[in-house]
Amino acid sequence: MIIELGHFALILACILAAAQAIIGFTLWRGNALADRFVSQAAILQFALVGFAFAALCQAFMADDFSVQLAVSHSHSLQPMLYKFTSVWGNHEGSMLLFVLILVLFGAAVAAFGRNLPSDLRTLVLSNQGMMVAAFSAFVLFTSNPFWRLDPAPFDGTELNPVLQDIGLAIHPPLLYLGYVGFSICFSFAMAALISGKIDAAWARWVRPWTLASWAFLTLGIAMGSYWAYYELGWGGWWFWDPVENASFLPWLSGTALLHSAIVMEKRNALKVWTIFLAIITFSLSLLGTFLVRSGILTSVHSFASDPTRGMVILAMLAALIGGAFTLFALRASALRSGGLFAPISREGALILNNLFLSAATAGVLVGTLYPLVLESLTGARITVGAPFFDITFGALMVPLLLLIPFGPFLAWKRGDLGAVTQRLMAAIIVTVIISLVVYGFMGFPISLAPIGLAIGFWVMVGAIADLVDRAAFGRTGFRQSMARLRGLPRTAWSTALAHFGMGVTVLGVVCATAFQTEIVTSMRQGETVDIAGYSITYEGEIHTDGPNFSADRGSYAVISPWGGERTITSERRVYPVSGTPTTEAGIGTYGFSQMYIQFGERVGPDARVARLWHKPYVLLIWLGTIIMASGAFLSLTDRRMRVGAPAKPRRKAKLAGANK
């Protein structure tokens, strides 16, 4: 019964969203009634889709196997958490989650956008309504999660065991919050193009939404990467796989959008470009959805997929993006950019940032789609492997990373590179000293890795230098500087934090890539292997049973170079319901480094193959992304970020002085 009510609620939401779009688009100009209708419709849609989603969750958690989706993706023996996450561990449910987040952002604009001009709000919500109508219709007609099965079987066929992990509770919701969050930026861009009012205020209104989506996407990608790292048991954290690229593309263009919106807000320049990026970013999110859902590209992440649904998404993508770019082409020429500036200036630096990020986006996009294009043109079947991405992406990131510390130091309009370099001299010296000390410990290796390390240190030190410079340490008294540091706008802190996080991630990537050690060997019980200063002894295996699986668990005694001993266990599991085997890697964390053990096949009565990795400083990769995201969240709490909230006059004077 509840399932039918949920189904009905989704149908209602779809119709309501269509009405919202039609009424909003026709009556947006100065119509208070239309404004009220679309706002209330947005909130009502959230309630309806929320109810539909809750109804589906209820069916999964209560083991209602008269629901087809629950039969094919859940089982009564699964722990409660995995029954819940099974809801979106499949195509239909994840598309419903997609719609839920689409309406969540619409409702958020209706609820928190009270200070937006009435016309703009109406248009944004109408556009969002249009997308909600399209995607909920997609769910209802091609991927309906509410179908019943008659007669109902006694039990389900279980969620794919690889997905039975806490990661499924964290990664998809976060990723969707980011992916789909950019729909609001897209709606704002469309609203601006329709109304023709595109100014600095518009950029200020979009920025909180961009920041929030970007932060969620950052965390979503990072958590997905960590999940793949420990669950798939291959010891890798990024494979340049098409599905990974699909989530990374909107992140790159979203990062560009984040920076160009600053120029638009502060200097009323780069309008056309910012609007373009807002459209492109959401287009890339949709492209990602299409690539993942259609199974058109061979991916290690591919799940059983359905090409017909992919075609429907492709058609929706074409209509939405085609419409957006037509409107863009018609209106963009009418946009006048204000604010002239010299090439060496904050604006110039941000343009350079955008240029590198866009080029990187294009590179990753070409690499991802090239096999598809080549096959349809020549029939040759190829894969564009990791080396392609390492070369193109890496080469474009190096100059960008080198330039990061300069950006926040340059003045708006016209900057002085010489003066900035002088102010950064201390940071340069500190970076060189840190790098040399680290090289010394490593015995001055000849490879690319030391350059990577220096770049990571440079970005981190540069971020700190920005704060030190703003607080005028060394130029005024210590106490006065501390007071200035406390008085800095939160956006200054968040810039420094996000850039610092970037540096931390770079360090992690370089260390984990260049200095990891790996051994594959068969080990008899009691046999010891030495790797990177750790000594690892295989202590034997036991057989154990979990709630819905049985496992062989191998134990390894690990003695670290500092003498501590601990036991790491790694399992090979079999889930009898679907007969699927999985491997649970054994991971021991030492500071930021990890010992990663994969328990292999039996090769004798008391011997097993084992694959051992030492991953130095690998945790920095994800720690850095968390720092980046927290920088974005911190900046959301800045008073100036709150939509339409006037800055306190006392602070305004100070800010003008801080030149931010």
């Binding site: 690889v162 048991g233 590209l297 061979t298 010299a342 090439p343 294009a362 070369i391 096949e601 090769v603």
Partner: protein, 147 residues
């Protein structure tokens, strides 16, 4: 240094052009050198592949062909017509099975076998790598759900 408006604009455009040219050059060179072709055992038998060139080999794992010796694995990949012996050093993915589809990355050895550096896992039972599915359908070995 006083910049005229025209010079500023030229400077910006020159900078943009430079970065774009760099990016395009990078992408094109890398595309020429860093792509990996996919072969079925029949295609290797017919056209041959230079030893040492990285390729992907796809097909079905022949029943009864998988032999393990410590961490060394030997198995035969076939597509109904031809077959290819593959060697892999390490732990095979959980879902590696005889009689199922497989994609292996690696290169041909002088002795005519295939040395795999990586064997791709599948996430679930119903998933068949698309290239493998296409190949097998063409060879008439397997009729599965859509491509």
């Amino acid at each position: 240094m006083a910049w005229t408006r025209k010079q500023k604009r030229l400077g910006v455009i020159a900078g943009l052009g430079l970065v774009l040219a760099l990016a395009a050059g990078l992408i094109l060179t890398a595309l020429r050198d860093q792509i990996v072709f996919f072969y079925s055992p029949t295609e290797i038998a017919e056209n041959g592949v230079a030893n040492g060139t990285p390729i992907r080999l796809g097909g079905l794992v022949m029943d009864g062909s998988w032999e393990q010796n410590g961490e060394t694995n030997v198995f035969v990949v076939h597509d109904g017509e031809s077959q290819m012996t593959a060697l892999f050093n390490g732990i095979l993915p959980d879902l590696f099975r005889e009689g199922q589809g497989v994609v292996a990355e690696g290169s041909m050895q002088p002795d005519g076998t295939f040395l795999a550096t990586n064997v791709l896992a599948k996430h679930d039972e119903t998933y068949m790598p698309r290239e493998v599915a296409d190949t097998l359908r063409n060879e008439g070995v397997w009729q599965g759900e859509g491509s």
